[in-house]
């Protein structure tokens, strides 16, 4: 049983390594592009 469970996890691990990386969504257009240069160096919570 333990071996079988380990094998199923190993299958998932291999799938993650082989899975595609970045997706191309040109139809998303400007929604996805958001340029936010930070004008001032301040700590996040300061």
């Amino acid at each position: 049983m333990v071996i079988a469970a380990l094998v199923t996890f190993a299958i998932l691990l291999v799938a993650w390594i082989l899975a595609p990386g970045e997706t191309a969504h040109p139809e998303a257009g400007p929604i996805a592009v958001e340029l936010e240069p930070e004008p001032e160096a301040v700590p996040l919570a300061a």
Binding site: M1, V2, A5, L6, F9, L13, W16, I17, A19, G21, E22, T23, H25, A28, I31, A32, V33, E34, L35, E36, P37, E38, P39, E40, A41, V42, P43, L44, A45, A46
Partner: protein, 410 residues
């Protein structure tokens, strides 16, 4: 054969559920801090780890962390692989009044949130595939051994007498140092003039901080592993330190920038929770006020220094968890007293200065191991799967580029 206590079992199981809620809480906390094009990817880091480490912990994580020692006090053996022998009966070693499975589940939630904490450092530019492999490797090769060192009765740091009630070194220092290494390895985000950015949703972050604060009662008071006076002590010290750190952080930011920052209240509270974690069951409520004040000042300063160093630890994981965890571990050596916990030891204030040195040794050992092992893991993964997304994907945003989804409809 130890007997099961219904009250203890109920408290430990409830505490496990409370700690579980911290990881989605962390997802909100981090999710609000990033830009809107990366909020889903940031939330996904925590949520995927909730699934991932739940499985690896059952398969091999628990036995490596808490299983019978392999001989050197460095790591557990494979006796409990797949929870073999871990049943509804109590362990003879851990939490002897609750089912062994309840203790295992409680510890599982700690193992889940620790790698999730690191994700704040590489937010907005980490490739998801590389992140998944990193999470499996880090929880196995870094978290499990360190948990064994500190919390297993056979662990070498446990043997030296290190005090870590709920994970100041095991959880926060280890993840904070790993975050710093990850930030250095992956490099700064593109499109930022300075290594800081405005959060896209402060209410989301405050909600996350509230959930973390709530769940932390399970984290710390649950670490008493029983429904007893020690749990009540840890509950009170936890709340007090969080409160003191929150109001301290707000006060400093008020004086420094002229406004009392809402975000500062949220991050300050988390810093206080981090610092009291190793101390919660060893110090008095009054000591927790001093710890909360100290960590508020020190972590605020660490966040400022991080900016000057121009290290893009995107969500200040090292400043809060690394520095806060180290401070808390040392403060435990200062304020611990057997008047609070007879199973502990006295610290500096109670006349035992050597405890501070023992705590310092733990800080150095855990920090150094986490740094070296994290760097090695990142280097090896990067040979197979590039850690960082390509420039266009980063510009598009990871929500769309990595997950094919967006958080907010136009």
């Amino acid at each position: 054969m130890p007997e099961i206590s219904a009250g203890d079992t109920a408290w430990v199981l409830m505490s496990a559920a409370l700690v579980m809620l911290m990881t989605p809480g962390l997802a909100f906390f981090y999710g609000g801090l990033v830009r809107r094009k990366n909020v889903l990817s940031t939330i996904m880091h925590s949520f995927f780890i909730l699934g991932l480490v739940s499985v690896t912990w059952v398969l091999w994580g628990y036995t490596l962390a808490f299983g019978p020692d392999t001989g050197l006090g460095l790591i557990g053996g494979l006796d409990w692989l797949g929870l073999e022998g871990v049943t509804g009966e109590p362990s003879s070693v851990y939490a002897t009044t609750v089912p062994h499975l309840a203790f295992m589940a409680f510890q599982m939630m700690f193992a889940i949130i620790t790698p999730a904490l690191i994700t704040g450092a590489f937010a907005e530019r980490k490739r998801f595939k590389a992140f998944v492999i990193f999470a499996v490797a880090w929880s196995t090769l870094v978290y499990a051994p360190i948990a064994h060192w500190v919390w297993s009765p056979d662990g070498w740091l446990f043997g030296l007498g290190v005090l870590d009630f709920a994970g100041g070194t095991v959880v926060h220092l280890s993840s904070g140092v790993a975050a710093l290494i990850a930030a250095l390895f992956i490099g700064r985000r593109s499109g930022l003039i300075a290594p800081a950015t405005e959060p896209h949703d402060v209410p989301m972050t405050v909600l996350g901080a509230g959930l973390l604060w709530f769940g932390w009662f399970g984290f710390n008071a649950g670490s008493a592993l029983g429904a007893n006076g020690l749990a009540a002590t840890a509950f009170v010290t936890t709340n007090t330190a969080a409160a003191m750190a929150a109001i301290t952080w707000v006060t400093i930011s008020w004086l420094h920038r002229g406004t009392p920052s809402v975000l500062g209240a949220a991050i300050g509270a988390v810093a206080g929770l981090v610092a009291i974690t190793p101390a919660a069951g060893y110090v008095t409520p009054v000591a927790s006020i001093l710890i909360g004040f100290g960590v508020g000042v020190i972590c605020y300063g660490a966040a400022l220094l991080r900016l000057r160093a121009r290290v893009d630890d995107a969500l200040d994981v090292f400043s809060v968890h690394g520095v806060g965890g180290a401070f808390g571990a040392l403060a435990t050596g200062v304020f611990a007293t057997v008047a609070v916990n007879a199973a502990g030891v006295d610290g500096l204030v109670a006349g035992n200065p050597s405890q501070v040195l023992i705590q310092a040794l733990a800080v150095v050992a855990v920090g150094a191991y986490s740094a070296v092992a994290t760097a090695l893991i990142l280097f090896l993964i990067n040979l197979v799967v590039p850690i960082r997304v390509p420039g266009p994907a980063e510009e598009t945003g990871l929500d769309l580029a990595q997950h094919g989804e967006i958080a907010y409809q136009p």
